[in-house]
Structures are given as C-alpha cells and as structure tokens.
C-alpha cells in the first residue's frame, strides 16, 4: 500500500509542533508513527532517535529512516520535504518581515511566552521517551550520569551518547 500521502501528512503536521526543538513533537510522533500508522515500534522509535543524536546536522534526521522503512527512497524524500518544508517557509517569511516585526511590542511577549512552553514541551517529550528508555537502575544511572557530566563539563554530547553505547554493551549483554 502506498504510504507516501500518509507520511507527508504526518510529518508536515509534526513539523509545526517542533517549537523549541524536535523533541517537542516526540509525544505526538509516538502516537502517529507507532500507534496510528504502525510504521515502527516504540523501542525502534527510541533507538532511531537516540542514534540520531550521534549524527551531525539537524538532530531529527532519524525521520529519514522512518520514511525509508514505510516508503523506500521516495518515502525518505517525502518525509524530508514534509518535515522541513513548512517550517522553512515560515522562517523565510518571518525573515522577510523581520524589519517590520522588530518594533512590534508583542514580539517580545511572544518570545518570552513561548520560551517556557517550548522548555515544557521538550521536557514532556523527554518524559515520554524516558518511559521507554529508562527501565531500571542501570539505564537511570546512565541518564543521570550524562546529565551531570554535561552540566559540569564542556564536553561534546555526541561522545557521551557513544559512551552510552559502550556502557550498554557491558551492562545489558545477556550473560
């Protein structure tokens, strides 16, 4: 069955929810890609997202893998255009209007108001993901360890995610 129209619809919709970061759309992404369309399982979604953190560039490129699974190379391309097209157009429009918006008093209000909401959405996405990713003392320890290290030291986060892989092999390999 042709999944392309559904992929375009889902990812264009998700793109508009990514206020403050890709993770803001994660709860909705889980519902649509896992529960509604069954393109992948929840653990697979978590895995792809996490692996995507090690890739360079914008950090939601894992959507390409979902598109590829559901619709081959065309699916991957469709997902890219659907996910980045709408917000790109919006950013472009704002860039063109910016000189006029600069003096608009509500601009600061919108920026100040959306800041806590986007942080909240990020946190909500994080909790949704944690439900699937944190399953015991070891995984919790890895998450807290990464958090504390990042708060304390200036270290490349991609390296810590990679370290998570190594720790994972040592901790979770069946004996």
């Amino acid at each position: 069955m042709n999944q392309i129209p559904a992929l375009v619809r889902v990812f264009a919709y998700l793109s508009l929810l990514t206020v403050g970061g890709g993770m803001a759309a994660f709860p909705e992404m889980k519902i649509l890609t896992v529960e509604v369309h069954k393109w992948l399982t929840f653990p697979q979604l978590i895995h792809l997202y996490s692996v995507g953190q090690m890739a360079p560039g914008p950090n939601m490129m894992m959507i390409v893998a979902i598109g590829q699974w559901a619709g081959g190379i065309l699916g991957a391309l469709a997902v890219l255009v659907a996910f980045f097209g709408p917000t790109a157009l919006l950013a472009y429009t704002v860039a063109r209007l910016w000189k006029r918006l600069e003096k608009w008093p509500w601009r600061t209000s919108i920026q100040q108001g959306l800041a806590p909401v986007s942080i909240g959405l990020l946190l909500a996405g994080c909790f949704t993901m944690a439900k699937g990713a944190i399953s015991g003392v070891e995984t919790a320890a890895i998450a807290v360890g990464v958090l504390l290290i990042l708060l304390q030291y200036k270290i490349n986060p991609a390296l810590l995610v990679l370290a998570g892989a190594v720790l994972g092999v040592f901790s979770f390999m069946p004996k």
């Binding site: 793109s15 692996v51 108001g113 959306l114 909401v117 909240g120 946190l123 986060p157 994972g168």
Partner: protein, 203 residues
C-alpha cells in the same frame, strides 16, 4: 540586501570572490554542507564558528538575534538558522542552498543507519548498545532543558508554565497542539507588553 531574483545559472559562474556582501549560492551550499557533516553533538556552536568567526557572513549580535528568532519559531534551530542566514546572504535561493547543505549529510547517514538497523537491529550486541544509547540520550535532553531554562526564562513564574505544559501533555494527554495553543496563549498574555517593561529590561 538580498537578491531573490537571482538566476540559478549564475551560481557556478562569477561571484567566486569571498566577499561577505556578495556570497555565491555555491559557497553557501558548501559552507552549510561542511557544517552539516561536522556538527557532531549540536549544531549551534558549529554555526557560530563558521558563519561568525571564520566567514564573517553575520556578526555576533546578528547571530544571537537570528538564534532567538529560530528558537521561538516552529522548526529545528539548525534548519531555521540555515533559512535565516541563507535569506540574509542571497534571498530565497540562499535559503534553499543553506538548508539543503545542512540537511544532506545527516539525511544520507540516517538513511544508511535506518537500513542497517532494520537488518541487524535484533542482534544482541546492538540491542544492548542501543539500550545504553537511549538512556544517554535522555540525559542529553535533560541537560538541554536545564541549559534552556538558565538562558531563556524571564522570571520565576515561567516555571509554572513549564509545569503546566508537562502536565497537559504527559498527565492530561491533551496533545501537543492543544497544549501549545492553550499554555502558549496564557504565557504570551502573561508576558504582554507593558509600559514599565522599558525599565525592567528583558531579564
């Protein structure tokens, strides 16, 4: 400043001089391709290093302002920044070149990773490694939350809006769009323009 009517045929020709006021489409594409293929662990520092420090395409003040626009719009910071910088340099074509450049390497990589994961994802080594990777990613997102809270909140009361957002999505299951509209409007109205804001400043 920007030239939206630029002919795509011109991109390869002329304009090759590394002049900040007249950067070619090809240069924009290559610079963002470079950022897109090297920016491990978060794009923003790489963007600053390339666009501000090395190329002088935008100055630091402009960069900070573009970043704050990017953060309050839907869309990823990385791609919104590409659009804004591309637009500033060469209009619509500049935006297209920048976003394609920054997305291409990661997209190709994740395409390959997706295929590989589909075939080998059930392997016990991979499953064990991914369990660690996912846990680490949770820690990474939490550190982003802490970092953003330190930087972009404008008062203690903002924590109420953060809490409301989390409760609406995770406990009440209102969904992201309804939460965004409801709590977003509330927070924007709370921060509505006031006369005394001029004295109190942004912080």
């Amino acid at each position: 400043m920007s030239d939206t009517a630029a002919n795509p045929a011109l991109e390869a020709a002329a304009n090759a001089a590394p002049d900040a006021s007249r950067v070619s489409i090809g240069q924009i594409f290559l610079e963002f391709l470079l950022i897109g293929s090297t920016s491990f662990g978060g794009v923003v520092p790489y963007l600053r290093g390339s666009l501000v420090t090395r190329r002088h395409w935008v100055d630091d003040k402009e960069f900070v302002e573009m970043l704050s626009i990017s953060q309050s719009l839907p869309g990823l910071n990385a791609t919104n920044m590409a659009i804004l910088v591309g637009e500033k340099l060469r209009g619509a074509l500049g935006s297209i070149a920048a976003i394609m450049g920054i997305c291409l390497p990661g997209a190709v990589l994740m395409y390959i990773v997706g295929i590989f994961y589909r075939i080998h994802g059930e392997h016990i080594w991979i499953t064990a490694a991914l369990k660690g990777v996912a846990a680490a990613a949770v820690g990474l997102i939490l550190s982003t939350v802490v970092g953003m809270s330190k930087k972009s909140l404008s008062g203690r009361f903002d924590f109420v809006f953060i809490a409301l957002t989390v409760i609406a999505v995770n406990s009440l299951h209102l969904g992201v769009p309804r939460t965004l509209i409801a709590v977003g409007l509330l927070a924007i109205l709370f921060h509505r323009p006031r006369k005394e804001q001029k004295e109190s400043g942004v912080q």
